[in-house]
């Protein structure tokens, strides 16, 4: 019995010994194999680099030669041949490397399996020896550890010292030298921009027009001025009358000093009645898409011409909406190289005049959806104002003569500046949001004297680039100018620029303009909310929000509301109705189209113009009901104008006048 046990044990031990030796041999074989494959792959790597067409010296030399001899056909053929040859070689090398890696992987796996097997054969069973933890051993071990940590500490200190010494040769002092003069400029500018930036007391009708401020001289021979609030970009100012280019003497790196003047309305101020009778700004007199009365058509057909009074082709493209004053319609068009303002006769549709607007700042790149003329013009009853994505701002009289022009600088805008101009009394309001927001200090709201272009007040805005248009409206018993941007909806006093309140409720790329309904400011954007803000003062982010809704949030089109219901239309074709008091969704309807033009409420109907040029007319009520559907003969994205029983719609190429002939 005993012998059997001993024999069995000896047999197991022999097997283990053989197994262990085999495993170790396997490790060696696999290891040597791996080293060989690795060597081949390393050699292949060098060859791969040489075969890469990007690294080929002969190919580069031939390309240089081709640049000098662009018509040398045989050289082109040689280049093609060499290029193809190199690509073939390169692809072969890559395939070799790929397959070689798999072979290497196989070798590594075999090596590890053999290693693991050998390790298992060598596993030792626990066999505590006699030595326990003696005091001497513990003391010795702790002492060694302390000394080691001490040495580690010294090494850490030495490493920091090396970094400290290396830091001494750093360029910080050079940077300081380089920015010394520059900082002085910035400091002056910051001082000038200290809040509140609002102005000179607002109403001074008898005050004469002040002389141009220092640093803002008129250019002889024209009424174009170099903008006193030129932003950081270096820019060329083009004198449209002489055609000469003059660089601004010293580009100002940060917010420049902005000269302001007192408001002077002695020149011209439209009456309330004149204002209400026309369509002077984006979305009508109130800027909120509201048309209270009038007999406006419900049915027309752009293809057959039914209900179309006239249709006029607009020479240059643009997404801006028509604005109307009396019997004249104004609209802008632009492409990358030129820009024009058009005056169209409302009776006949004929273009009365077209006025080019020369580039002041260099043209900027814009998205196709923005185009080069996205901002709607503004009219004060005597003058027309236009702004373009490169920050060029111009003023024209009703005969097309340029009165003044200036550059606000090329804005840092993701898609291209698209906010429309708006008017309040004789003030031209320019929302110029740009940059990424926060404390970058790049966004501004400007109020300019319409007749001169001088700045009456301005406000620095802590927001990112936005595309919404400001709205001036009475909320409660106070006149407020509302702006919508990321992250704040901000209300200003339109006469002084003093900030009344702000609410942190927005996010993303904000394009829908704010409105007023039910005694509250309503602002929305896709990805954020439709927020109803009760007017107040200070930061209303927590205390002033009446409600927030998340249904049907528009991305481009602005909301429209009567005092009971808000209507939203988005570019997915959804139309949503929300209760003004509660913020609860009343109904929603999905069209298979897209809405970019902002909806308007005309009497008891909501006019919704989609991208395909189809006007869908629904009742402005608590249940969805379509009462009309009419088409143009082309697509449309601009918001229509409703004046005197006629609807003016800008299509992709033409302007339509719709109504009774």
């Amino acid at each position: 019995m005993l012998n059997n046990d001993v024999d069995r044990r000896i047999s197991i031990e022999k097997h283990a010994e053989i197994g262990c030796k085999s495993a170790v041999r396997g490790m060696w074989i696999a290891g040597i194999f791996c080293v060989l494959v690795l060597g081949l792959l390393a050699g292949n790597r060098n060859a791969t680099w040489s075969a890469n067409p990007q690294n080929s010296a002969p190919l580069k030399a031939m390309q240089v030669r081709l640049a000098k001899e662009p018509k040398n056909e045989s050289l082109k053929t040689d280049i093609r041949q060499l290029d193809a040859q190199l690509r073939h070689e390169y692809l072969f090398r890559l395939t070799f490397a790929n397959q070689g890696s798999y072979v290497l992987l196989l070798g590594v796996v075999l090596f590890l399996i053999a290693g693991a097997t050998a390790a298992q054969y060598n596993t030792k069973m626990p066999y505590p020896d006699a030595e326990q933890q003696s005091s001497d051993l513990v003391r010795y071990s702790a002492g060694i550890a302390r000394r080691s940590v001490g040495i580690f500490g010294i090494i850490a200190a030495l490493s920091l010292m090396v970094l400290a010494v290396a830091s001494q040769g750093n360029l910080t002092s050079e940077y300081r030298k380089a920015v010394r003069g520059y900082q002085r400029q910035s400091a002056e500018s910051d001082q000038a921009n200290a809040a509140p930036q609002a102005v000179q007391s607002a109403l001074a009708p008898a005050t004469p027009i002040p002389a141009p401020a220092a640093g803002n001289p008129p250019i002889p021979g024209s009424k174009i001025t170099i903008g006193p609030f030129s932003p950081p970009q270096i820019q060329l100012v083009k004198n449209t009358q002489t055609g000469s280019n003059k660089p601004i003497p010293k580009p100002k790196p940060t917010d420049p000093k902005i000269e302001t003047v007192a408001l002077d309305e002695s020149d011209y101020k439209p009456t309330a009645e004149e204002w209400a009778r026309n369509w002077p700004i984006f979305r009508g007199p109130a800027g909120m898409g509201l048309v209270e009365s009038g007999d406006y058509p419900l049915k027309w057909d752009g293809k057959s011409g039914d209900g179309i009074i006239w249709k006029t082709a607009i020479p240059l493209p643009g997404w801006n909406s028509p604005v109307v004053w009396g019997d004249k319609i104004f609209i802008a068009g632009a492409d990358k190289t030129k820009r024009e303002i058009y005056c169209i006769d409302a009776a006949s549709g004929k273009i009365i005049w077209k006025q080019p607007f020369a580039m002041i700042a260099k043209q900027t790149d814009v998205m196709e959806d923005t185009g080069y003329a996205p901002s709607t013009l503004a009219i004060d009853g005597k003058r027309i104002f236009a702004i373009f994505p490169n920050g060029d701002l111009g003023c024209f009289d009703f005969d097309g003569k340029q009165i003044w022009a200036k550059s606000l600088g090329v804005p840092e805008n993701t898609y291209g500046h698209g906010s429309s101009l708006t008017m309040f009394r004789s003030l031209l309001m320019v929302l110029f949001d740009q940059g990424s927001g926060g404390s970058d200090g790049k966004s501004f709201l400007y109020a300019l004297q319409g007749g001169t272009g001088n700045i009456v007040w301005y406000a620095k805005r802590p927001v990112a680039n936005s595309w919404a248009t400001p709205v001036v409206a009475t909320i409660g018993d106070r006149l407020e100018m509302l702006t919508n941007a990321n992250p704040y909806v901000i209300s200003y006093d339109p006469l002084t620029g003093k900030e009344y309140w702000r609410a942190d409720v927005m996010s993303g790329d904000v394009a829908p303009s704010p409105i007023v309904a039910g005694g509250m400011a309503l602002a929305c954007n896709t990805g954020a909310y439709l927020a109803a803000i009760k007017p107040g003062s200070g930061d209303l982010s927590k205390t002033g929000i009446a409600w927030k809704a998340s249904d049907g949030l528009p991305d481009i089109a602005s909301p429209v509301a009567n005092n009971e219901l808000v209507f939203l239309a988005d570019s997915m074709g959804n139309v949503t109705c929300v209760d003004v008091k509660s913020g609860k969704k009343v109904w929603e309807h999905a069209y298979e189209t897209a809405f970019k033009a902002s909806p308007s409420i005309v009497g008891n109907n909501v006019y919704l113009l989609d991208n395909e040029g189809v006007m869908r007319i629904i009742t402005a009520g608590r249940t969805f009901k379509e009462v009309g559907k009419s088409v143009l003969s082309e697509g449309a994205s601009a918001t229509p104008a409703f004046v005197g029983g006629r609807i003016y719609i800008r299509g992709e190429k033409s302007l339509y006048c719709i109504g009774k002939k």
Binding site: A116, P126, P128, V149, L160, T172, Y175, P251
Partner: protein, 438 residues
């Protein structure tokens, strides 16, 4: 059987890890226009919000299971199984992000910069393992962390790291924590993510240096158990801080320790503490005097570190993109380097005044002076506290798992005869009776 399975699992695991080596190969487009339109690289859709909450749910479930396996079931096999799941889910499926280790940076940045919002999922991944550590020790390390699991699975032949070296290397995670927090809070870089050795494997792609680094860490982990966890992981440093306060500590024996010493070498991570001699190994007078000296020196260490850190700030700041851009612009303008980079070309094309670039670098540099001061002080504090820790007398009568360092892997359970008896092992019962008789 299990050993054979392990032999099979390892090569499969290695194979999976090696796939990223065949990463995307760049190839220049042809020199002549062919009319072929290069395909637009699709932007991956952001994960649906509910997915993030699902991740939190999976994390909580995994932590609860790990707690159960470690404290109640005491099963190494179950812990290993959960490790493989965590490696598959948090590692390969979730591509190693979000992870608790990287979440340190999110938390640091959101605290330092009020404009940075801490994502709920990052906050949860940061807090939950710490909360569990308060009650059940490092169960997160045991079976939930994919990085730990990756190293645990490849561990083949553990080597004991000498105590002096382990104590020195044990300082590194604290320094790494300080450095990572400084860079994240200033907003320059997420170093932990950038130098995560395993994320390149999890994502099936990465730079060659990171693949090599990851490969080396795995090879090292075959012989030095959880090398990254023990000697680099900054989250491990935080868990080390909390684990000694654990309510239910991981124990080697489920009952009474009989001092059989069979577990002495059971821990591949060297986290089993032996019973101490009756005098604690250090004479009382000698120990007291050393302790007082070190306590008095602690402010000196902190001050020295802070001073050196402050002086080194400019060099440390060069990690920041704004600072490195300014440096490059200056060097190019003064003809100290040849050629330009994409970034400097962009500055020139966009007409950005160079002074703006320099101003930005100076502004960042100011932040770094404060950050480096704090970092240097932190390093001094850590080294000082380590020395103090090594000078404190500790008394143990049993073999114990180190509450701070034990990663609750469960390898020591079955080395204890008391545990084996619990599983019905008759031979272990005999051994136990012998020891009890002694």
């Amino acid at each position: 059987m299990i050993k054979h399975m392990k032999s099979l699992l390892f090569p499969i695991y290695c194979f999976l890890l090696s796939i990223p080596a065949y990463a995307v190969q760049n190839f220049p487009p042809p020199d002549f226009t062919t009319g072929h339109k290069l395909p637009v690289t699709p932007t991956p859709q952001p994960r649906a919000e509910w997915f993030a909450y699902m991740d939190i749910g999976v994390l909580i479930a995994a932590l609860m299971l790990a707690t159960y396996f470690v404290l109640w079931k005491r099963s190494r096999r179950a812990i290993g199984g959960l490790s493989i799941f965590s490696l598959a889910y948090f590692g390969f499926y979730r591509h190693g992000c979000v992870c608790s280790i990287g979440a340190i940076q999110n938390v640091a940045q959101s605290i330092a910069d009020p404009n940075v919002v801490l994502p709920v999922v990052a906050g949860a991944f940061f807090l939950l393992p710490l909360i569990f550590a308060l009650f059940a020790g490092r169960v997160f390390c045991a079976a939930v962390c994919p990085l730990g699991a990756a190293q645990d699975i490849v561990l083949m032949k553990p080597t004991k790291v000498p105590n002096w070296l382990a104590q020195c290397l044990g300082i590194l995670p604290w320094i790494y924590l300080g450095v990572a927090v400084m860079y994240a809070s200033i907003g320059s870089a997420y170093l932990i993510c950038r130098y995560d050795p395993f994320v390149a494997f999890f994502r099936f792609g990465g730079s060659v240096p990171m693949l090599v680094f990851g490969g080396l860490m795995l090879v090292l982990s075959m012989f030095v158990g959880r090398a990254y966890c023990r000697f680099l992981c900054p989250y491990g440093a935080l868990l080390r801080l909390i684990s000694p306060l654990t309510k239910w500590k991981v124990t080697i024996t489920p009952d009474e320790c009989v001092n059989c010493r069979l577990c002495e070498d059971a821990c591949p991570y060297g986290e089993i503490r032996y019973p101490t001699p009756t005098d604690g190994g250090i004479s009382r007078t000698e120990g007291k005097s050393r302790l007082i000296t070190l306590l008095l020196l602690l402010p000196v260490f902190i001050g020295l570190g802070a001073g050196l850190g402050y002086l080194a700030s400019d060099k440390l700041a060069q990690v920041d993109p704004a600072v490195s851009l300014a440096r490059r612009v200056w060097l190019e303008d003064h003809h100290k380097v040849k050629g330009t980079t994409l970034e400097t070309d962009s500055v020139r094309k966009r007409d950005i005044p160079k002074q703006e670039v320099y101003l930005q670098a100076l502004a960042v540099g100011r932040k770094y002076r404060h950050g480096s001061l704090a970092l240097g002080g932190w390093i001094g504090l850590i080294i000082g506290l380590k020395l103090i820790g090594l000078s404190i007398r500790r008394r143990r009568s049993d073999y114990e798992a180190d509450a701070a360092g034990c990663v609750a892997c469960g390898r020591c359970y079955m080395s204890c005869p008391v545990e084996r008896v619990r599983h019905g092992d008759a031979e272990a019962k005999k051994i136990l009776e012998e020891y009890r008789a002694k």
